[in-house]
């Protein structure tokens, strides 16, 4: 199919065909938008869970929710934010931005990309459907064995979790392979590796971590599934099994996962800060190599999550040292961002404010992280609110602030309209003040002895005031999120039209219209610089109208059918009905064959 197409799908088409065109889409930009809307919805759900947690903890002896419900709330808050919010929000940007940044017309495998999205959304719905049957996962997002065994966790709670995470892993690995091939193979002429924008670089590193880390948690989950469903003994102490096996496998995945969450955000602010400082990124090569080093070292620090289990002095010393070591490339990046701003013509747009907010809050989270690297100190902090403070500084203050910087930065590229700067700055300040108010007191709450994951506390601890402050901060953050949602809706109708390059940025995605045409580039440009728009003759021009018809791949519904087959099998596992599992498998097999045999030219 060769179609000369202008812009997005025609708006006069019937409602049904418009929905169908989204369901069958293989356009990386549309899939990016789908990822964003879906993941942001899950982010709001995870946020509501957080607000319920904070309400319950607002004063001692509270009875708002039961201990059981509280377990479900913190488990689903963590699981949702990690797997259904931050990771797919990053994926939204991988999808939308990376092909544009490298000068490609789409990803390497457009249908596999759609498949990843549908598996993610159906897997997320599957996980949250557990609330509807009153059996939400309740053993923490790390699901330590043998709390998760049938003996200690009867019912469907953990079944939903163990199956749901395996399903989500499929989506992540498929997307990981897709983006590695895209970045390695589909670069425009002249887009050498060391000319790639840093966001693309961090995406590449992240995908390598995803492709290697997810099989490990898959195996851990498969063991747990066999224990629960078929009576195997992997985590059974009575049979000689070791519950630490779970902890090793989980954190062997879990710590690289931390970098899966933070590296994309680091990539985003590495685009935002140079643009709004009007200076190329300071020490580009060092930032890239630091990112790679983080990706490698991230594999050697997992046991610092396990200092309290008694690994012995040698293991603890080694992991303590590697943990301190990984702070170095991270610190290097922070200095590079600051040096980029140094002497630049800084414009404090909302995006830039979030990027600077990232640096500030990530430093706090990074410092408390280095404190954990010392086993004696860590023993005092393990399972207290101090740890909760630490990872909310890096994951909210870091990853989410970075993602918001990215949202304000690329929003005009995606929608063609700017978000309101006034409303945006309100959003920023509510978020920044709220987050610090919510998370900073947790350091003290933890050091004063309040444990994590306990649904209430004694008034004699004297922590009522600090907890109330934290709760108030959480609600200020929540208000900030509502302000953002309002800004998004406002911008769709009343936002100022953006033009191709509203920020005067340097990279390829700003050389095409906003939103970009369906084929991205009328002519694939030749790139001659790391900052092609900023330097003279940095790239060959991209004409507004294609000189010759551009081939655009058609859509396909088989990725959705394949994803549906997987979910049917997952539901069958929950129902413990072999026939349904086999039915889902059959749907999957049919979809794979139809997919492989349908004519689809990219």
């Amino acid at each position: 199919m060769t179609t000369p197409v202008m812009g997005h799908a025609p708006t006069r088409a019937s409602w049904g065909s418009r929905v169908w065109s989204w369901v069958t889409t293989t356009d990386h930009k549309r899939i990016g938008v789908l990822y964003f809307v879906t993941a942001f919805s899950f982010f709001l759900i995870g946020g509501l869970e957080a607000l319920l947690i904070r309400l319950q903890l607002s004063h001692s002896g509270n009875t708002l929710v039961s201990a059981q419900t509280y377990n479900e709330l913190f488990t689903m808050h963590g699981t949702t934010m990690v797997f259904l919010a931050v990771m797919p929000l990053s994926a939204a940007f991988f999808n939308y931005v990376v092909p544009l940044q490298i000068g490609a017309r789409d990803v390497a495998f457009p249908r596999l990309n759609a498949f990843s999205y549908w598996v993610f959304v159906l897997g997320g719905l599957f996980l949250n459907a557990s609330f509807l049957v009153g059996a939400a996962p309740n053993a923490g997002w790390f699901g330590y064995a043998n709390l998760t065994s049938s003996q200690y966790s009867p019912g469907l709670h953990i079944d939903f979790w163990v199956i749901g995470l395996q399903v989500l892993g499929i989506a992540s690995i498929a997307a990981g392979i897709n983006f590695i091939v895209t970045i390695v193979n589909l670069r425009a002429p002249g887009m050498r590796l060391m000319r790639m924008p840093v966001f693309t670089w961090m995406t590449l590193v992240t995908q390598f971590i995803i492709v290697t880390a997810f099989p490990v948690i898959t195996v851990a989950l498969v063991f747990l599934m066999f224990d629960r469903f078929f009576g195997a003994n992997f985590y059974s102490v009575a049979a000689g099994g070791d519950v630490l096996l779970w902890q090793h496998l989980f954190w062997l995945f879990g710590h690289p996962e931390v970098y899966i969450l933070i590296l994309p955000a680091m990539g985003m602010i590495s685009e935002v800060i140079p643009t709004f400082s009007r200076k190329p990124l300071f020490g580009y090569a060092v930032v890239v190599y630091s990112g790679m080093l983080i990706g490698v070292l991230g594999w050697g620090v997992w046991a610092h999550h396990m200092f309290a289990v008694g690994l012995g002095p040698i293991a603890e010393s080694v992991f303590s040292a590697t943990t301190m070591l990984i702070a170095i490339p991270t610190g290097v990046k922070i200095f590079n961002w600051i040096a980029t701003m140094w002497g630049g013509r800084i414009r404090f747009t909302t995006s830039m404010l979030f990027a600077v907010g990232f640096i500030a809050m990530f430093i706090v989270g990074g410092l408390s992280g280095v404190m954990h690297s010392s086993p004696p100190a860590d023993l005092q902090q393990t399972d207290t609110y101090f740890v909760v403070a630490h990872f909310h500084y890096v994951l909210f203050g870091g990853a989410m602030m970075g993602i918001f910087a990215g949202i304000y930065y690329w929003w005009p590229k995606v929608t063609g309209r700017l978000l309101s700067e006034g409303i945006g700055k309100t959003h920023f300040w509510l978020t920044f003040v709220g987050a610090n108010l919510a998370f900073f007191p947790m350091h003290f709450i933890g050091l004063l002895g309040m444990p994590r994951r306990i649904y209430t506390y004694d008034p004699a601890l004297g922590l009522d005031t600090l907890n109330l402050v934290s709760t108030i901060g959480a609600f200020i953050m929540g208000t900030g999120m509502l302000v953002f949602v309002f800004n998004a809706i406002w911008s769709r109708k009343r936002g100022v039209p953006a033009g191709d390059n509203p920020w005067g940025a340097a990279t390829l995605e700003w050389a095409v219209s906003s939103p970009p045409p369906v084929y991205n580039f009328s002519v694939i440009p030749e790139v001659r610089s790391r900052i092609p728009i900023w330097v003279e003759n940095g790239m060959t021009p991209v004409p507004a109208v294609p000189p010759e018809p551009v081939h655009v791949p058609p859509g396909s519904y088989w990725p959705l059918v394949a994803a549906t087959g997987i979910i049917i099998a997952a539901v069958g596992a929950i129902l413990k009905t072999l026939l349904v599992v086999l039915g889902g498998g059959a749907v999957l097999v049919v979809a794979i064959y139809a997919w492989a045999l349908e004519p689809f030219e990219i």
């Binding site: 390497a108 495998f109 690995i173 990981g176 392979i177 897709n178 590695i180 091939v181 390695v184 193979n185 589909l186 670069r187 887009m191 492709v211 290697t212 880390a213 997810f214 099989p215 490990v216 898959t218 195996v219 851990a220 498969v222 063991f223 066999f226 078929f230 009576g231 195997a232 003994n233 992997f234 009575a238 049979a239 000689g240 099994g241 070791d242 096996l245 496998l249 062997l252 064959y593 492989a596 689809f600 030219e601 990219i602």
Partner: protein
């Protein structure tokens, strides 16, 4: 799928590069399974133990069968590349047949073990053994299905030399699964 290879930055075919990435991912999957087997080796609190139950001569034969299937796979790719339809079909079928033989012997091994009192529930050895070798067996089964699909495509006259890349990728998968078996055979059957 288009037969004409897309122009790529590295010159490598997208599907081939993607498949190498998948194999990388699979290495971690089997690596975790094999590590777990090793960690739990000799830690079962009750029998049967590997020494009592493993049939090494039988498994040596099935290992040989699987290794020979890799040879047949190489010959199938060579045949499809030079456009030799007859030998493409012969070697594809031979590879799939050897794979099926391996699976049959594994099925026999599993049922014998169950009769001798070793199931996934019995002890740590049972859990780790069945999940590790079972995962590998599932991979072989997928490979057999894939090979038979190529065989049918060849019968339909849709597997000319321009589609050699498809057989090459099937081969990558098949050889990988073979190599994994060599590790499993060494670790589970030979290492005492």
């Amino acid at each position: 799928m288009t037969a004409v290879a897309q122009h790529t930055s590295t010159g490598l075919d997208n599907r081939k590069l993607g498949f190498w990435m998948f194999i990388g991912s699979e290495c971690l999957l089997f690596g975790s399974l094999i590590s777990t087997y090793l960690v739990y080796h000799g830690r079962s609190v009750s029998g049967p133990t590997p020494d009592e139950i493993l049939n090494i001569p039988l498994t040596s034969v099935s290992t040989f069968v699987l290794l020979m299937s890799s040879l047949a796979m190489v010959l199938a790719l060579a045949a499809v590349t030079r456009g030799d339809r007859l030998w493409t079909r012969v070697w594809l079928l031979a590879t799939a047949g050897l794979g099926l033989t391996f699976l049959g012997m594994q099925a026999y091994e599993f049922t014998t073990f169950v009769h001798e009192g070793l199931t996934i529930k019995t002890n740590l050895f049972g859990s780790t053994f069945f999940v590790l070798t079972g995962t590998h067996g599932a991979h072989v089964a997928v490979g057999v299905l894939w090979l038979l699909t190529q065989f049918v495509r060849s019968l339909q006259g849709k597997l000319g030399p321009e589609k050699a890349i498809n057989v090459e990728i099937t081969g990558l998968y098949w050889h990988f699964v073979d190599v994994v078996w060599i590790v499993i055979f060494t670790v589970v059957y030979l290492l005492r």
